[in-house]
């Protein structure tokens, strides 16, 4: 049952965040400026969450790596986006590609783990 906890937390965060941001009533121009940064932070969050799950099921989970990874990845991505804005190159794409490919890699490993587990239990039931 504990495996469902992250999903529940995600839904809860979505609801609370939605209400809170709607309350803030941010003007459109300001929203346009920070939108790429927020999206990058979200992507870094997705990457870290999936990385954490992967590390967890591989039994290599370390909380310091988990937290520092999230913070540093977010800062680096935001820094790249900022620098890109200044020098006129869409540098944030580098962060999007790097984080995005890791999301897919982690997801594939998690999928593999659960499929292997499923196959093993099936074989056990068969014998």
């Amino acid at each position: 049952m504990t495996a469902l906890l992250p999903v529940v937390a995600l839904a809860l965060g979505l609801v609370i965040g939605w209400v809170a941001f709607a309350r803030l009533e941010i003007p459109g121009e300001l929203a346009a400026v920070y939108a790429p940064y927020l999206s990058l932070a979200t992507l870094a969050g997705v990457d870290t969450a999936l990385g954490g799950i992967r590390a967890g099921i591989e039994g290599r989970f370390q909380d310091d790596i988990f937290v520092s990874g999230f913070v540093l990845n977010t800062l680096l991505a935001a820094g790249l986006a900022f620098l890109g804005d200044r020098i006129g190159v869409d540098l944030f794409l580098a962060a999007v590609v790097a984080l995005g490919s890791r999301v897919f890699l982690n997801l594939s490993l998690i999928r593999r783990y659960y499929l292997t587990k499923l196959a093993l239990t099936r074989r056990k039931e068969a014998t």
Partner: protein
């Protein structure tokens, strides 16, 4: 394979905490994007909106008003100067007519007001969104139709359409006389209201087409009196020169 118990922590709880934060971030992102959509339509416009300086726009409007005022004053002076003398009056009448034709004076008269705005696409597909957007060529078609229907003065969102007017699309905005205009586009034309409305409403014509797409994209009003503002852009002439005047004799020889 998955059993090395290397500093094993209750990782599910930490991932749960992060997922909660992720939810907050995600909600923020979604809200932000919808805020931007509401403010200026489509993420593609973001750079342009944040890049345009509000104070610069205010300065531009101020200068335009100044130009309009100065030109009005000039007209008044010309009229005063022409008083009394018959020759000067004839010249001035000609001058004022030329200025009216070239769009340098504010004019009024019976006419129509056509307001165009972007419709609400029924789906999120880009193709659909383009169909429900007013483009530069929409305005071009309307102006074309109005001129063909005998409009004598036309303005788009306060920009007078003159012989040197370009209506074009620059990125996400439409520029008229090199000034960006934003929806809803208000097109004011002086002319015979019935003829102009008829021209626009012609079967298979522009408004017919628009009506089939989304009738809420336009409103057309006939009015007894509309005011079309004067052109406030530059009037510098750098290249064009009148051709040297030929005598009647030469003209006859030139045309066999």
């Amino acid at each position: 394979m998955f059993t090395s118990a290397h500093r094993h922590q209750p990782w599910v709880w930490q991932v749960t905490a992060l997922c909660f934060m992720l939810g907050l971030l995600l909600a923020g992102s979604l809200q932000t994007v919808s805020t931007i959509r509401r403010a200026g339509g489509g993420p593609g416009r973001v750079g342009f909106i944040s890049g345009a300086s509000p104070s610069l726009a205010a300065t531009l409007r101020e200068r335009e008003k100044e130009i309009a005022d100065l030109r009005e004053k000039q007209t008044k002076l010309e009229n005063v100067l022409a008083e009394g003398s018959g020759k000067l009056k004839a010249l001035n009448d000609e001058l004022q007519l030329a200025k009216l034709l070239s769009g340098l004076t504010e004019v009024q008269g019976p006419g129509i007001v056509l307001t165009l705005q972007d419709g609400k696409p029924r789906s999120n597909r880009a193709f659909d969104a383009a169909r429900f957007t007013i483009h530069d060529y929409d305005l071009q078609m309307v102006v074309n139709e109005l001129v063909a229907s005998g409009a004598e003065a036309i303005a788009i969102s306060g920009q007078r359409v003159i012989s040197r007017t370009a209506i074009r699309c620059v990125g996400p905005t439409i520029m008229v006389n090199n000034v960006p205009v934003v929806p809803p586009y208000q097109i004011v034309a002086v002319g015979d209201p019935g003829t102009m409305a008829g021209g626009l409403n012609m079967p298979g014509g522009y408004l017919d087409d628009l009506r089939m797409t989304d009738p809420s994209m336009f409103t057309l009003e006939k009015r007894d009196n509309v005011v079309v503002p004067a052109y406030t852009g530059r009037t510098e002439v750098r290249w064009a020169q009148p051709t040297p005047q030929k005598s009647d004799d030469e003209k006859e020889r030139a045309e066999p």
